[in-house]
């Protein structure tokens, strides 16, 4: 790990992606992710990589489709309205099983909304967004360091499962600076090898390699029986991901907990502050933070409900999206309460503390 640098989340994730072997990046400018595209514009030429400012988010995601079809580590990024435009392409990426990384630096919606931080794209990211039965692996960072670390994690997961992976961040994490340290950069040889692991299915020259191939990058199966098989195969893969890749953090979870909180991304940081304040006043409050929001840690949340827990409270920067998953996890064991904030406004530790105090 390198020495720590004070960096914005948007820049840190871009640097980490380059170090993880991303040499192709296609995107369209949008606030509050502009530092990301600008960092890529500056740094990609220095590693002989491709930076291309596409004519639209639609084109950018289809450029990702083309490059991913060649087995290369490729990334795009945007913010909420732009991610909506990418949804067509994301469905195709999932259907054609193309490893790729998409970053969403969320802002307030719906429509043009505003440019302040929000978590209103949770449903879109975890429940679909594009058409058809498919799943994205969705990682939700809560610090600049974790945002950066998730770049290489996202590429590894994408390669492992031949599936698009989304990092679900927000304007606050994108704009905030925190100290960050980076992993060693992958060498050109290592990047070449990463690409070759996909030669069985991806597009690449016939010359100079193994036997002649005709590989197809495709999401079309006109025969219903064939499509059924394809979708069932995808489902098997998703089950495997659910078995292997669920990640979450427990913060001050114990048998003494009076309340259990659930929050993801930047919200979890604010909740932690409130929990610390309440601890000073003699209260025991726990927090479960889903790190993967798909696959979702249902069991972990159920298990974290201690004997004295009166209530589970969910905190999100939306009007109640993840809370539906928490209700599934809690399954009626205790009441589930919710506090949301919208419009691009982030709740303060004081507001979160007050909400928890209502139930003490």
């Amino acid at each position: 790990m390198s020495q720590k640098i004070l960096m914005k989340g948007n820049e840190a994730v871009a640097e980490a992606a380059i170090r993880a072997g991303c040499r192709l990046y296609f995107a369209y400018p949008i606030t509050p992710q502009s530092e990301l595209i600008e960092y890529m514009a500056k740094m990609m030429p220095k590693v002989n990589g491709t930076f291309l400012q596409a004519e639209s988010e639609v084109s950018a995601i289809n450029m990702v489709y083309g490059a991913a079809g060649c087995g290369k580590r490729v990334m795009t990024s945007s913010s909420s309205p732009g991610i909506s435009l990418k949804m067509e392409g994301i469905s195709y990426l999932a259907g054609a099983e193309l490893p790729s990384v998409i970053i969403n630096v969320q802002r307030g919606g719906p429509g043009l909304g505003d440019i302040q931080p929000a978590q209103g794209d949770y449903f879109q990211a975890t429940k679909g967004g594009g058409h058809g039965d498919y799943r994205l692996i969705v990682l939700a960072p809560n610090s600049v360091q974790e945002f950066a670390d998730m770049a290489s994690e996202a590429f590894d997961l994408a390669d492992k499962y031949r599936n698009p992976v989304m990092i679900l961040s927000d304007g606050l994490l994108g704009q905030m600076m925190e100290p960050v340290s980076f992993k060693e950069s992958k060498t050109d040889e290592e990047i070449e090898e990463l690409g070759k692991q996909h030669y069985e299915w991806c597009m690449h020259p016939n010359t100079g390699y193994t036997e002649r191939h005709h590989n197809e990058i495709n999401s079309l199966e006109i025969d219903p029986n064939v499509l059924e098989q394809h979708v069932l195969e995808l489902e098997k893969k998703y089950k495997l991901i659910e078995q292997n890749e669920i990640k979450y953090e427990e913060y001050k979870v114990s048998d003494d907990n009076e309340i259990l909180c659930v929050a993801f991304g930047i919200s979890s940081r604010v909740v932690k502050s409130a929990i610390n304040e309440l601890e000073k006043e003699g209260h025991s409050i726990g927090l479960v933070r889903p790190i993967t929001v798909w696959p979702y840690p249902y069991e972990a949340i159920a298990k974290a409900i201690g004997p004295k827990v009166k209530k589970v409270i969910v905190f999100e920067l939306n009007l109640g999206q993840m809370v539906e998953d928490v209700r599934l996890a809690v399954n009626g064991k205790v009441p589930v309460d919710f506090m949301g904030k919208v419009g691009g406004i982030v709740f303060t530790p004081a507001e979160v503390k007050e909400k928890i105090e209502e139930s003490l």
């Binding site: 720590k4 004070l6 505003d114 925190e178 940081r269």
Partner: protein, 179 residues
């Protein structure tokens, strides 16, 4: 110790820079830091503010609701961020742009004509360094030496005169804060 600071003023007064240099120096001293700017259309001309946390502990929320250090470079900033300041905290007020005084229980308030003082040192642009000097002089948030080292590596090659002026402004700020 945990410093939760909000610096606020008009866009262009350098509040983001105040936060950035303090966070950077905090990091170099091995502390946990976060720097959270307001961003968007208000970046130019309107009100800009930055929340900085410098702590020996892991930083939970980078969003500060009750700061223990506030820098108010204009009146709207003082009105907004002054009242929620914690007991035992300190507010630095630029009297050149804050005509009204403030009373917050248990909070130390330091008044100084910061715009005028910056002009006297040589440029309105060193207002931010003057503020940094006042903050570290009063609170010990970071060491002067760390800042000097950081500024020197950042500026020495490019503009030695400006570096000198900046360091003078920090020292002046430290002096004022301890009067």
């Amino acid at each position: 110790m945990t410093y939760e600071m909000i610096c606020s003023g008009f866009g262009g007064q350098g509040v983001l820079t105040i936060g950035r240099f303090l966070a950077q120096s905090g990091m170099k001293e091995g502390k946990n830091v976060s720097w959270l700017p307001s961003y968007g259309p208000e970046m130019r001309g309107g009100t800009a503010n930055v929340s900085v946390v410098i702590s020996d502990e892991e930083i939970a929320s980078p969003v500060v609701s009750n700061p223990n250090v506030v820098v108010a470079l204009n009146q709207p900033s003082l009105d907004k961020f002054g009242p929620p300041t914690r007991k035992g905290g300190v507010i630095f007020v630029n009297t050149d742009m804050c005509p009204k005084k403030i009373v917050v229980e248990g909070v130390d308030i330091v008044y100084a004509p910061m715009s005028q003082m910056a002009n006297d040192i040589g440029s309105p642009m060193v207002l931010n360094m003057l503020a940094i000097g006042m903050i570290i002089g009063k609170t010990g948030m970071v060491k002067y030496e760390t800042l000097e080292e950081d500024l020197t590596s950042y500026m020495a090659g490019r503009n030695p005169d400006l570096l000198k002026m900046n360091l003078a402004a920090i020292k002046k700020g430290m002096e004022v804060a301890n009067q």
